[in-house]
Subunit: 333 residues, 2 copies
Amino acid sequence: MKKIINDPEHVVTESLRGLAAAHADLLRVQYDPDVVIRADAPVAGKVAVISGGGSGHEPLHAGFVGPGMLDAAVPGAVFTSPTPDAVQAAVAATTGEAGALLIVKNYTGDVLNFETAAELAAAEGLEVRSVVIDDDVAVADSTFTAGRRGVGGTVLLEKIAGAAAARGDSLDAVEALAHKVIGQVRSIGVALTAPTVPHVGSPSFDLAEDEIEFGIGIHGEPGRERTKAEPADVLVERMVRAVAEDLPFTRGDRVLLFTNSMGGTPMIELYLAHGIAERLLAEQGITVERRLVGPYITSLEMQGISLTLLKLDDELTELWDAPVHTTALRWRA
Amino acid sequence: MKKIINDPEHVVTESLRGLAAAHADLLRVQYDPDVVIRADAPVAGKVAVISGGGSGHEPLHAGFVGPGMLDAAVPGAVFTSPTPDAVQAAVAATTGEAGALLIVKNYTGDVLNFETAAELAAAEGLEVRSVVIDDDVAVADSTFTAGRRGVGGTVLLEKIAGAAAARGDSLDAVEALAHKVIGQVRSIGVALTAPTVPHVGSPSFDLAEDEIEFGIGIHGEPGRERTKAEPADVLVERMVRAVAEDLPFTRGDRVLLFTNSMGGTPMIELYLAHGIAERLLAEQGITVERRLVGPYITSLEMQGISLTLLKLDDELTELWDAPVHTTALRWRA
């Protein structure tokens, strides 16, 4: 294993020190337990939106802390759920009378630890609810999951829930919007190479030089099938079909298309894949109204991509377009 | 070779189709020769700022096309200089009476082809000048270069020259500022793995599982030395020293610290390295006033990082902070 790290046990904390130094205008970091908190939290009267999970998927989640998106992110060890006390610390630092919404990707450890934290917060009189996102169409159950995995849709959910909270929506309203997003977002991923977890030291799985894993999870969990590598036109067509047929997305739908790098795939390949997906959706009469292209939910240095489709309506589009100021997403209306 | 591409010969053009589809609000693409042009070009009365070079370093340069930065980017084939007619097409699409500044990284092919294009433009009555950036302290001469290579400083130069042009500076003034930036920016890179050029099909060089290349170029050109992999603390200290001693940067200096991923290095490692560099500079009495952390000048999927330091003064800081709206850099004042 070659990585730019010191002791593998301290990689997350040491990385957070760099994040804090680089972005003191946007966020602060509390250590032990490690939590990334919006610089001006708590924001009076606003529903706090909090997410987290194992590290190694950066910029998810810490890169989305800031006005218009997350109030706090809770980074666990690499590919390891954060502990309940860390989630609780995030709630304590950000949550007032308006309450908090926890956005949880559907992995057994995450669901359990966020639930425990929510119960602890409730015992202290805070209103904390959680929603579980499970947008990955690849498999019904997986290595760390009962039910579908939470993947790329999480980025879109965090943006839209964050925008709803920022405009002053109640906890009921933010939660309802989150469920709406979860109901109409779908994703699929593909891997060309495996990631290496620092404290493990060797690749998470083996892929032959001519093989890909179709339906990969963001921790390298097995997908639908291992196949021979294919030209981009063939591969992206399979990915678009898997996602579109699942909801299904149909002629006349307006969508956000999110083409994501798993970390190690160069931008030149990512945009090439995005262009194919745009063309295929246009051919199906599905209108791509918004786009996101880049490495936003990664699996360390894994080469691969994922495609996420979110069905839009006027309200979701308005919330997507709303101002956001984080290290990874930044725009004004 | 596993890549998400179709025919290796068409990878740049196909990728540009995806870029154009994703960012029609910011840019348009002319094909054959391939040029990326700011959507609202030509901008009346403004000096055009144009850059380009071989593809494979994305988001450099096309990701920096837009208000406040580049008017056009000229992407050659992967790791191959663009042809003079492509540069000429970029000039024709963007340049009026105010003239144009060409920002050229110091590689023999780039310098020659941009010079030829400038001469062709001059013959048509356009005032076109070029500046050559050579900020890499690693080696005196290199595989594709007489003199030092142009690397990470290019991103900072494009931002600052673009901001000067946007505020209405004359060609003389933009050119003078560009020379000032080139005079006080220095970089060094390191590689953990090699990139694979699509039309070559195999890695550009071999590195053992415990080896790194210190002083790597952005096309995988050899650096100062091949050494055993080291802990991040040791590696980043060597990198900071190499850059700081070169100009030199000294106690009391105000700097912009740019910690760049070569493409395949995860954000968790990149921020870890950034944090170490921040600490070392603080210990030396060098004040980090601005930061940029991310994959901005890459070498396909190569794992590695580079560090760039730019000495700041009030004017350069103001130009760095000035509004920019491109796919890769976006902020308001």
